[in-house]
């Protein structure tokens, strides 16, 4: 199945925009590639399901210290470990990313609805995206720490 960059790019743009505006950080996008395994790079991953004219899911995966910094900046607080505040904060970030991408794609054939976000905690956790749908990974660098955006999404007709 081919990957439509017009479907992926809004999620990449939304990631940068959400983090810059809500967490006052400037992530730098690095490489973009097709994922070949199910392991996430981070200690915490925010997940959002997508449905409608497209179906699939997006995941933002962060190291603990990066997640703590992002949420700390959002809330004007300081976090050393992943607690309930950090979990909720990461879920909110993935909600913002999905919501913005949804708006960017609203006038295209890729109209979709978003679910309530969830998150997974723990090193080397794995998530299976929808079978047969390519997963595109965008790697970012945030002040020397990597995080990833995974977008596994395809038109429902495919």
């Amino acid at each position: 199945m081919k990957v439509d960059v017009n479907l992926i790019n809004p999620f990449i743009a939304a990631t940068t925009n959400a983090l810059e505006m809500m967490a006052m950080v400037k992530p730098e996008r690095k490489k973009v590639y097709l994922k070949t395994d199910n392991v996430l790079i981070g200690d915490i991953s925010g997940i959002m399901g997508l449905s409608g004219d497209v179906s699939g899911s997006i995941i933002l995966s962060f190291e603990a210290k990066t997640a703590c910094k992002i949420v700390g900046n959002m809330l004007g607080a300081s976090y050393d470990t992943i607690d309930d505040d950090v979990k909720d904060g990461i879920q909110e970030i993935v909600n913002l990313v999905a919501g913005q991408a949804k708006t960017m794609l609203a006038d295209t054939e890729y109209h979709f609805q978003i679910s309530i976000p969830t998150c997974i905690i723990g090193a080397n956790h794995q998530v299976n995206h929808k079978k047969g749908v390519p997963c595109v990974v965008a790697e970012f660098d945030l002040e020397g720490s990597p995080f990833t955006l995974e977008v596994s999404i395809a038109p429902k007709s495919s």
């Binding site: 949420v71 959002m74 809330l75 309930d84 909720d88 909600n95 919501g99 309530i116």
Partner: protein, 121 residues
């Protein structure tokens, strides 16, 4: 001024509250975690002067909450604060009685501007 903030994300409720405190340091902020909780808190706080509500929430979404509040005839303006930025959704909310609309993500200055515009302050 008493302000009701309705959002299922505790993070977003804190972000909004922190932003409100920046330009309304004396604001009395009441928080609710979904539309049902929001309507309960609204009924228990009839002196509320401003309501900020998310759209996508479990247990009664923001649009249903908005309609319930408007149905009471209460004068407190409702501002939707949501990722639902498509024109059709904005139109739906305004036609349902929302007085203004803030798209997430937002900066504190944007929120302040929308509140000032809505309240005439």
């Amino acid at each position: 001024m008493k302000v009701l903030v309705v959002d299922d994300s505790s993070t977003m409720r804190r972000i909004i509250s922190n932003a409100l405190k920046q330009f309304m340091p004396d604001a009395d902020i009441v928080e609710a975690e979904d539309g049902n909780d929001g309507f309960d808190k609204f009924q228990a706080n009839q002196d509320v002067e401003l309501i900020l509500s998310d759209w996508n929430m479990p247990n009664c979404d923001g649009l249903e909450f908005l309609k319930k509040v408007v149905e009471t005839g209460h004068t407190a303006p409702v501002i939707m604060v949501t990722t639902e930025a498509e024109k059709s959704n904005v139109v739906t909310a305004i036609k349902s009685g929302a007085k203004n609309y803030v798209t997430k993500p937002f900066t504190p200055d944007v929120l302040k501007g929308k509140i000032s515009q809505t309240m005439g302050i």
